[in-house]
Symmetry: C2
Subunit: 271 residues, 2 copies
Amino acid sequence: MTTQQLIEQIRLKKSFLCIGLDVDLTKIPSHLLETEDPIFEFNKAIIDATHDLCVSYKPNTAFYEAYGLKGWQSLEKTINYINEKYPEIFTIADAKRGDIGNTSTMYAKAFLEDLNFDSVTVAPYMGKDSVEPFLAFENKHTIMLALTSNEGAFDFQTLETNGQELYKTVLETSKNWKNGQNLMYVVGATKAEYFTQIRKIVPNSFLLVPGVGAQGGSLAEVCKYGMNENVGLLINSSRGIIYASNGLDFAEKAREEALKLQVEMQEIMNN
Amino acid sequence: MTTQQLIEQIRLKKSFLCIGLDVDLTKIPSHLLETEDPIFEFNKAIIDATHDLCVSYKPNTAFYEAYGLKGWQSLEKTINYINEKYPEIFTIADAKRGDIGNTSTMYAKAFLEDLNFDSVTVAPYMGKDSVEPFLAFENKHTIMLALTSNEGAFDFQTLETNGQELYKTVLETSKNWKNGQNLMYVVGATKAEYFTQIRKIVPNSFLLVPGVGAQGGSLAEVCKYGMNENVGLLINSSRGIIYASNGLDFAEKAREEALKLQVEMQEIMNN
């Protein structure tokens, strides 16, 4: 999917919501546990109930790898289901990968080619040659960690390096990498005041924003400081939507939560 | 496996060699491609031919994920084979993971509990709460990226932060994390001169050292500056050993290459 197509979807749906498919078998409705592939059945129901309210789904690979072979199979089935039934959706493999060049190429192929996700998240610590293999894929996107939403973000990301915080250097440096136009960035919603400065460095890039809802960030605040003329934001919510209920009505309740966010987004976009 | 058991194995085998099982189907002997699980068959032959010369095997997960479900199955079979047949081997899942707390817990369970690796590699960018879930596992080890062997290491890892390079701050800070005694660090062999300073910060920690061989680092140099009284090094070689030949004699040739390194290590340990 091209960036332009993503922007069109956002305008059409009046939504820049991304739903995180972080499926934990201990949290899903018990009646699904009797099915052959509970994770996929859960995802399928959530997707069918919410696809018109969001522009993106983001399975976090950890939650699939935790179930070994069966988990990997559920991930494959989930991405195939989205790609076949809802090809207008922007898909994100939240994998936070990064390794030396030939190894990053293997990861890039796994997620962007074989599984055919539109994008994958990567970690910046190993630098340019660990990320460029991901950037080489046409009409695919690489979403690099900049400023994350967890407490540990303050351990290294905000350290002063050459007169500015590390995450700013990460943003600035990466812009100049080969195919840097294929970069988006992860910026946590718990730090809305940082968005003003981030937008000075990457005015046009899409920012994937976790931390709204369960992690405590405010949508209005993030939009106030982080939005650009193409919206430029993908706001992720995982637990707040997918675990809204663990009864038979889980998909319906998930839709209700997604709708609340979509309505809030529509209002923000109309202003 | 405890650190003490690893040290005993090193003394017994006169080796601190780690063999990287980074299996690429385009590089393995063609006769294996006719078997049901070429990756596992390749690993099994390499392991049987080299297990007495090394103390550790390190499959890089990228090379398995690149083959989807089948790849994950090969990884499972490989780690099970090592754990059953050669339980004295220290196993490393080279995964370079790291995410917010609840997600890191899922990765930690996947690699340290379900697959039952002795250790897993992680990235430091997201800080303390992204790594501590891995450290919580008893008699398991978390190998954190400090200074890597690729060119991109100079993008961020060597930036000045508060008067010292970032990788040194990473080493220093992480020592104080909960269960920090379960940490080891990745330090690239291409930068032997850095080991003196690294040893001032982490005198007792084990260092996993990639970059000997194919990536150009020198074993003698690394040992000169990086060894401590318990050796404290795991020297990794992947391509130099496993792709020594792509004929019928691949395992035999891999053994020859591993033996060269083991002999060199034995000489260094004897001095």
